[in-house]
Amino acid sequence: MRSDPNARAPLGLKLAAAAGLLFMHVPILLIFVYAFTTEEKSYQWPPPGFTLRWLEVTWNRVDVWQALWLSVQVATVATLLAMLLGTLCAAAVSRTRFFGRETISLLVILPIALPGIITGIALRSAFSLADIPFSFWTIVLGHATFCIVVVYNNAVARFRRTAGNLIEASMDLGADGFQTLRHVIMPNIGTALLAGGMLAFALSFDEVIVTTFTAGQQQTLPIWMLEELVRPRERPVTNVVAMVVVLVTFLPILGAYYLTRGGDSPAAAEK
């Protein structure tokens, strides 16, 4: 049952809500502020002065560009891999009944419930055991384990809402398997896939723990930041990078949110 949507919340509740939101978001704003401070050795409050110098410094740092480029590559490849495997898995689980279906569904979701450190250690020892050298591809595989989950979850929900008889209706009207995929299945699960892909990209882009265990000498952007915090040189550069990371991960998540809002998804609208 829903309470009256027009009822006003008591003042205490409003204050508590405001305090909660501030607690979550003010520290992030501090990061932004420090990106423009003139003080470079320590985080001094209030900042003695403001400058845009660090933007330029960051722009000219080769190590930042390398880390950023690696992160983008890893996130892109992991996301594509997750979209392919996650969708196929969702299709299998939602479209057919077979022995062990629930178990498979659980096993696919499990990696996101496991602490990253366990996934990381497990993968590291598995890679060592199989004599696989740590490389770009081991990072991608590590990230794909949890990226698949997000894509799978998005796709499986949409597959369930896309009535199975739409596919039969398409076949009935003369469309073969490929035409049905292109004209019926893709338009109906497209937004869910895109949303899942965006979330996966964002997750991969700021992943630290699994990456520390599966990377060799490479530094992804979050790893680079972690190392940078220890070295007190040109500190605001880290803050500039942090700002970029926030923007790069926030926008896809926002986009995914808009794409999957319940009511206006095409398959739900027909019911």
Binding site: A163, N165, L166, E168, A169, S170, M171, D172, L173, G174, A175, D176, Q179, H183, V184, P187, N188, P266, A267, A269, E270
Partner: protein
């Protein structure tokens, strides 16, 4: 003459479940044919076998003389109106109707024009731009019909097409479907669990139970001369009289059906029975009598002179109204399936 659809010893088993079990059936071209039965009786599976969504586990199906075993659904000249319409939510009404032509590679201009014609046929001209989500149940039903007809199928399959509509709309659509079928002269095969719908619309009916056909015939044959207790009971609400009683009445030991509307009240002669209860139905009055320990339901005129409940009345019916059936004349509840 070649049958439009022909089942030859068709079985469709799902593991231990015999959804369709040894089906033999011929549907003539241009017929309005009903597959009638309770849920789980195999009627929908039979329809899906014609459409090609199911493959027979044994036997085969011919569509206009051609064996259909190896033909996938998208190459059969058969189209389906689905129970919940299955309209494509991401396409407009017009695009939905034109979908079949698009798959055939018909140019955009022609296929949209043709789709518009079909919308006119189902009395939805000008609805093409809307989204299926914005239509009422009855309108969606018409769109589904137009979409299924766009490829000019030789056989149109309808799966409980009126099930989701309210009573008034359902009666109107029954009329429309019937006249549409006459005009287009396409073979219609429709699945229903509603015996009234089957009786009023179909040229012929196949009554299904437990994966088997119990009886095939015109609505009148099925109604007047049910061959088994199942058919008598499922089609209309017949009084099914057990062999003992029938033997006393006619001298033949067999199960018999007696339609409630065949029972009359008489002042003398006939059979004496005790009134149990009666209810007023508007145009008619339904009365339940106790006759020798068996309940007999009668549909009488609304102004019929009934005695008080518990008092006796005299019932009569024509000799031919007591229809003997082919079931084994075994008494008792285990025989009364």
């Amino acid at each position: 003459m070649t049958s439009a659809v022909r089942f030859k010893n068709v079985c469709r088993h799902f593991g231990a479940i015999r959804a369709v079990d040894g089906l033999n059936l011929e549907i003539a071209p241009g017929e309005f044919f009903a597959l009638l039965g309770p849920s789980g009786s195999g009627k929908t599976t039979s329809l899906r076998l014609i459409a090609g969504f199911e493959r027979p586990t044994a036997g085969h199906i011919e569509i206009f003389g051609e064996r259909a075993d190896a033909i996938p659904p998208y190459r059969r000249n058969v189209n389906t109106v689905f129970q919940d319409y299955a309209l494509f939510p991401h396409l407009s009404v017009l695009e939905n109707v034109a979908y079949g032509l698009k798959m055939k590679g018909v140019a955009k201009k022609q296929r949209l024009a043709r789709a518009e014609e079909l919308l006119e046929l189902v009395q939805l001209p000008g609805y093409g731009d809307r989204s299926p989500a914005k239509l009422s149940g009855g309108q969606r039903q018409r769109v589904a019909l137009a979409r299924a007809l766009v490829n000019e199928p030789k056989v149109l399959l309808l799966d409980e097409p009126l099930g989701a509509l309210d009573l008034k709309l359902r009666e109107q659509m029954q009329e429309e479907l019937k006249s549409l079928q006459k005009r287009l002269a396409i073979t219609f095969v429709f699945v229903t669990h509603d015996q009234g719908e089957a009786l009023s619309m179909a040229d012929r009916i196949a009554v299904f139970n437990e994966g088997k056909i119990m009886q095939v015939g015109t609505p009148e044959e099925i109604y007047r001369a049910p061959r088994s207790r199942f058919v008598a009971d499922f089609v209309g609400s017949s009084n099914v009289l057990p062999p003992d009683l029938v033997e006393r009445l006619t001298g033949t030991r067999a199960w018999a059906s007696l339609r409630p509307e065949a029972v009359r009240l008489v002042s003398r002669g006939g059979h004496s029975a005790t009134l149990v209860s009666s209810s007023f139905l508007g145009a008619q009055r339904r009365a339940v009598f106790d006759f020798d320990g068996f309940q007999i339901t009668a549909l009488l005129a609304a102004d019929a002179k009934l005695p008080e409940p518990g008092k006796t009345a005299r019932l009569a019916w024509g000799e031919s109204d007591l229809h003997l059936m082919e079931d084994e004349p075994v008494d008792g509840p285990e025989g009364a399936a």
